[in-house]
Amino acid sequence: MLTIKVLGSGCANCKRVEQLVHKVVDSMSLEAKVIKVTDYKDIMAYNILSTPGLVINEKVVSTGRIPTEAEITTFFASALEIA
């Protein structure tokens, strides 16, 4: 199972990433827990400088932009491979 975290304080881009994540999780029919992290203290624990951030199984895979659906799919696939 994947633990997916979307880091961001609720800006438009962060919401977009969250939507995309849900969409890809559904289309891959993954078992995944999607968590929104909005507190700056928790966000900064991942040592990032720009939001939105995307974290899969505690590993930062993207920051400061909206990854495409295809990219998110690849992120998930390679996380599954490692796990």
């Binding site: 962060c14 289309s27 900064m44 624990a45 040592n47 400088l49 720009s50 930062v60 495409t68 696939a77």
Partner: protein
């Protein structure tokens, strides 16, 4: 990520879940040649279009619609039909190039470059890196915390936080298209000077105690900083995405702004504005700055109007001050920064920039 993997996953996914392993196999970038050809073709189309719009605008206004050459309506229409496609073309082309350049920078790299430099020099670096580092004001808080926490002085952090939004690509490109490269260069230089000076001033004021306490308590995770290896294909794709995003966001403002500007261009008499926006009116610079504050982020709509106003007697210093206030003094950014700055520091931050902008306005009114 390989190109092949990407295409692979565009196909229906449910059935393929079991042979995920195939995606890790090395794939040669099959479509990179196609991308290069596509970029080259777009370049040629761009140049052709850019050269066609002036004759086309004149032809539509004066030949097809038979408006007389010196009529108000004819002049306004030709102005509008030329400027709208010109600005939209300029925005698309230049944002693409700027985004490619920016793909070589990241806030993480900027932070690493700034670490260990002494104040003064670091302020200059921070302001210049503010131009090329991809930055969105919604990320101002994590960036602020990350910079300060890694030991970058407060004043240097502010130099970056002032330059990044003020020297905004849309504003600079529109100035370039409507005022020419000299004014665009003046704007960029002024923005740099303001960011450097304001950052040094804030640094000297020793206002660290007015940073919210939680910022000093945050310990960034030991996690490795994400450092992506991008291929040219990635860079081009991302640059194209930001063109779509930015032009998609501003095109309507551009059209409305140019429409209003075209109206002023055709109908307002010459030097009608000299008395209120000219050099003689000493109060025009601070008034322009005040007026600019609530108009944040609408540079796209405001610059064409201001450009028309200048033809009618508004002076360049006043106009530049106005535009910097529109872009640089943004209320939403202040609201975001309130999360990490106590009120006295936030007010100082705003006041120092405002004073610097007013000073720049008077300076250009005086020397030009």
């Amino acid at each position: 990520m390989s190109k092949q993997a990407k295409h692979y996953f565009k196909s229906p996914l449910r059935e393929k879940k079991n042979d995920m392993t195939t995606i890790s196999s090395p794939a040669k970038p099959a479509s990179s040649q196609r991308t290069i050809i596509l970029v080259a073709l777009s370049g040629i189309v761009w140049v052709a279009a850019y050269n066609l719009i002036q004759p086309l605008a004149n032809w539509i206004s004066y030949s097809a619609l038979r408006l007389p050459q010196d009529s108000h309506l004819g002049e306004s229409l030709a102005f509008f039909l030329y400027d709208v496609p010109k600005i939209l073309l300029l925005l698309s082309g230049m944002i693409f190039i700027i985004s490619i350049i920016r793909s070589f920078f990241s806030p993480e790299r900027t932070r690493a470059l700034l670490g260990g430099k002494r104040e003064g020099v670091a302020n200059i670096f921070a302001a210049m890196l503010g131009i090329v580092t991809p930055f969105c004001s919604c990320s101002a808080v994590p960036l602020f915390i990350g910079f300060v926490e890694s030991g970058i002085p407060l004043g240097v952090t502010f130099s970056f936080l002032i330059a990044a939004p003020t020297i905004n690509e849309v504003a600079v490109i529109m100035l370039l298209g409507l005022f020419g490269w000299k004014v665009a260069a003046l704007y960029v230089t002024s923005g740099l000077v303001i960011a450097i000076v304001a950052g040094i001033v804030i640094g000297r004021l020793k206002m660290e105690r007015f940073v919210e306490d939680f910022v000093w308590q945050i310990k960034s995770g030991a996690g490795q900083v994400l450092d992506e290896k991008l291929t040219w294909n990635n860079r081009i794709e991302r640059a194209w995405d930001s063109v779509k995003e930015i032009v998609g966001k501003v095109w309507l403002y551009v059209i409305i702004g140019i429409a209003v500007g075209a109206g002023i261009h055709g109908y307002v008499p010459e030097s009608a504005l000299a008395s209120i926006m000219g050099k003689q009116a000493w109060w025009s610079v601070p008034a322009a700055v005040l007026l600019g504050i609530p108009l944040y982020s609408n540079a796209a709509g405001i610059i064409p109007i201001v450009s028309a106003l200048m033809e009618k007697g508004a002076s360049l210093g006043t106009v530049l001050a106005f535009m910097m206030a529109v872009v640089g003094l943004s209320l939403p950014e202040a609201v975001i920064l309130r999360r990490v700055l106590k009120l006295p520091l936030l007010v100082t931050f705003f006041a120092v920039i405002a004073v610097a902008i007013i000073f720049i306005g008077y300076f250009f009114n005086l020397i030009l």
